[in-house]
């Protein structure tokens, strides 16, 4: 069976079957990373360009490692030091890169919409590694993979996503994906961090964290950016941590098998304390590990690999 998508722009574009296919295939790709020789020739001769116009450590390294473990050649380009900094428009930059015939461009970009436009304009595969506040599909897939790995299922899980939903592409992609696979989602945030129209997303909406803490199977904390204080979205770190931070007291109220996730980077002491981030419930580092496997699947499928589920 062939994978029907040239690109991966948004979780909104995937069916639940396709999500399950990605998660299932990622199991075998994860196995590769545990081998002594962590490399297979699946994408030998393919070129993957990593175009990162916004700061990123985890996602860029994860994609790069994924491509290398599949034997693809990689080129990385970041905003500083590229011609973007010299004022070249991103479309020009993309067309110039295209002239070098890459097979895939993985793009991270500060504004919504560019990956979709590139996918329409360019013949190569485009994988969205996060565009503005729109979507971050590979993050949502690795999050779902990690939840499934822990619970053995996604259907019926109750996932609480806590924090700046308004500005979070991770929250959006997770909500779209989790809804598709039958999970229940509760968003927890002060009203300033709830997007207009959130009531149409089919999620539970809570402004108080405590009642949700004891109900959820998964508590996913979002990074809260300090500049949002200056933009008057909240009053300060102390009050935020008090009402929306995940601390020892709240961890102790969680369901016995409930887990803690965070897409990183964390603001320790603001949305999450050391006890929560480093404790036994935290699967934050598993998320990072699984990210490589899921991205191997995404590169493999986007670059013409066959759907291969055991």
């Amino acid at each position: 069976m062939n994978w029907p998508h040239k690109d991966l722009i948004a979780i909104q574009d995937l069916t639940s079957e396709e999500i399950h296919t990605i998660l299932d295939m990622s199991k075998s790709f994860k196995e590769i990373s545990k081998r002594d020789i962590k490399k297979v020739p699946a994408l030998r001769g393919k070129t993957v360009v990593l175009l990162f116009y916004e700061a990123s450590t985890r996602t860029r390294l994860s994609f790069e490692l994924a491509a290398k473990r599949l034997s693809a050649d990689t080129m990385a380009l970041s905003a500083s030091g590229s011609s973007f900094a010299k004022g070249e428009t991103i479309m020009d930059a993309a067309l110039n890169i295209m002239a070098m015939s890459p097979d895939c461009i993985v793009i991270r970009y500060p504004y919504a919409g560019l990956p979709k436009k590139l996918a329409q304009e360019l013949p190569c595969s485009i994988i969205n590694a996060g565009d503005g506040t729109h979507e971050h599909p590979s993050q949502a897939l690795l999050d779902m993979y990690s939840m499934q790995e822990h619970f053995g299922k996604l259907d019926g899980l109750h996932v609480a996503i806590v924090g700046d939903i308004l500005h979070s592409r991770v929250a959006r992609s997770n909500i779209y994906g989790l809804k598709k696979v039958g999970a229940h989602v509760t968003v927890v945030a002060p009203k300033t961090f709830l997007p207009v129209g959130v009531e149409t997303w089919g999620v539970n909406i809570a402004t108080a964290f405590d009642p949700v803490v004891s109900e959820a199977d998964v508590i996913m904390m979002l990074r809260v950016q300090k500049e949002r204080i200056h933009e008057q979205y909240f009053s300060g770190e102390r009050e935020y941590a008090y009402f929306y931070g995940l601390n020892k007291k709240r961890v102790d109220k969680m369901k016995p098998d409930a887990i803690i996730m965070h897409p990183g980077p964390m603001n320790r002491g603001v949305e999450i304390t050391h006890d929560a981030a480093d404790g036994s419930r935290s699967i934050i580092l598993n998320q990072v590990e699984n990210g490589v496997a899921v991205r191997m699947t995404l590169l493999y499928l986007s670059l013409g690999g066959n759907v291969n589920v055991d």
Binding site: Q12, T89, A112, G113, L114, D131, H134, V196, G197, V198
Partner: protein, 424 residues
């Protein structure tokens, strides 16, 4: 010169009949029922099967000169207007330098005169540099030729200064045109705020950004007794506020744009910045309210807000591209589409671009009467055509209507009896 055999539609004179027009010395000399004999030797324009309309008045446009000639200049804008059947263009003050003093006004009028196409009527700034702080030289600008004042896209933030502006402008009998937007509330928004903006990951501009300022300006107008014209209203809520004010007898008038009548925020799904304008495209409920507002005469005028931007500016990300859409050549076809799709009387739509703006601005034109300016637009109501980039006379091509098929096309435009555009 005679225009013979056409269907003459003129809301100002309540006329819709077959008639011939005699033009001499740039003025309409006579209008007679079709069929009379024509003295030999007269030039004749055959308008059989065509509609003969008063030349259109576009009361809100940006011609970009001086300062932004790479987007548009007065000559190219005049040509595009002529091709759209627009014989009077009212141009906003946000040039560089701003039209906040009589020298800039004179410069614009001189350029318009040498372009020699359509009548260009400048709007002066309300405040110096459109900074919202000090009143501009409205009286001197009026002597130089402005016909109204507006800070348009940089609306006067201070209610106190807006109050004084209304009082001061009325001293010189200058209409005040207000672009209603609370810039603080709009923040970094780039599209209508709602479920769609949240889904697309684009910052939203709530409807009340506009409605708060409409309320303020309506109240200021009622308090001072000075009329105010609210330009390009885009929301159902604005219309409700204006409806209530009109019922109370307030001297408030308003316009909306063809794009707010024909398009919604759905277009933004493409992330194509040609769908980015200010006020932003709203939702279907707003659009229908505006259409009904036109039908019920609550909306007085329709204006293009013609806002040219260069291609490299509009090729930027949706977040970064400038706001604006061009509109001269699609104005009349858009009205025709509203007529056909929503069964609004064409004459009523035509009034929104002829008689009504002339009245709001207190200017000559917008009618076909013996003695009036021979500004005439001849329109083929049956022509079916598709807009392509090549057809656009503007220097800029920023319109999502490219590729649309319209019914009805301007075939000839006369300004003071002189043909300034013809498809022949």
């Amino acid at each position: 010169m005679w225009i013979k055999g056409g269907r003459l539609i003129d809301p100002a004179n309540n006329r819709d009949e077959q008639a011939d027009i005699l033009i001499s010395d740039g003025r309409i000399e006579d209008i007679r029922p079709t069929g009379g004999l024509t003295p030999s030797g007269e030039e004749i324009i055959d308008a059989k099967g065509l509609w003969v309309l008063p030349g259109l008045i576009d009361m809100h446009a940006h011609l970009r000169e001086p300062g932004y000639e790479y987007k548009e200049d007065i000559a190219s804008g005049s040509q595009a207007a002529a091709a759209g059947g627009i014989t009077t263009v009212v141009c906003m003050a946000n040039t560089e330098p701003v039209n906040d003093n009589p020298s800039v006004t004179q410069y614009i009028l001189k350029k318009a005169s040498s372009a020699g196409m359509v009548r260009v009527l400048p709007v002066g700034a309300i405040t110096k540099g459109q900074q919202g702080k000090e009143l501009a030289e409205m009286g001197l600008m009026k002597e130089a030729g402005i016909i109204a004042v507006s800070d348009d896209g940089r609306p006067v933030e201070s209610a106190s200064i807006m109050r004084r502006a209304l009082e001061y402008a009325s001293t010189f009998s200058l209409p005040v045109i207000s672009h209603c937007e609370d810039k603080n509330l709009a923040g970094s928004g780039v599209m209508n705020e709602g479920a769609l903006s949240s889904q697309l990951g684009l910052a939203g501009i709530p409807s009340l950004t506009e409605e708060i300022m409409v309320s303020r300006d309506v109240l200021l107008s009622q308090y001072t007794g000075v009329p105010v014209h609210i330009t390009h209203i885009s929301t159902k809520g604005s219309l409700e506020i204006i409806r209530a004010a009109k019922l109370q007898g307030a001297k408030v008038t308003c316009d909306t744009t063809p794009h707010h009548l024909l398009l919604t925020e759905e277009g933004v799904r493409t992330y194509n910045a040609n769908y980015k304008m200010n006020p932003p495209l709203r939702n279907e409920a707003d659009r229908h309210a505006l259409i009904e507002g036109v039908r019920m005469n609550l909306i007085d005028c329709i204006a293009t807000d013609h806002a040219p931007h260069a291609r490299d500016e509009k090729d930027l990300d949706f977040d970064l591209a400038p706001f604006g859409i061009i509109g001269f050549q699609t104005l009349l076809p858009a009205l025709m589409k509203l007529h056909l799709d929503f069964d609004i009387d064409f004459s009523q739509l035509l009034a929104c671009v002829t008689k009504n703006p002339a009245k709001v601005l207190g200017i000559e034109g917008g009618k076909l009467s013996p003695g009036s300016r021979a500004d005439v637009t001849i329109f083929d109501p049956d022509a079916v055509w598709t807009l392509t980039e090549e057809m656009i006379f503007s220097k800029s091509r920023n319109t999502p209507f490219i590729g649309w098929t319209f019914t009805g096309k301007v075939v000839r435009t006369l300004v003071e009896g002189r043909t300034v555009y013809s498809t022949d």
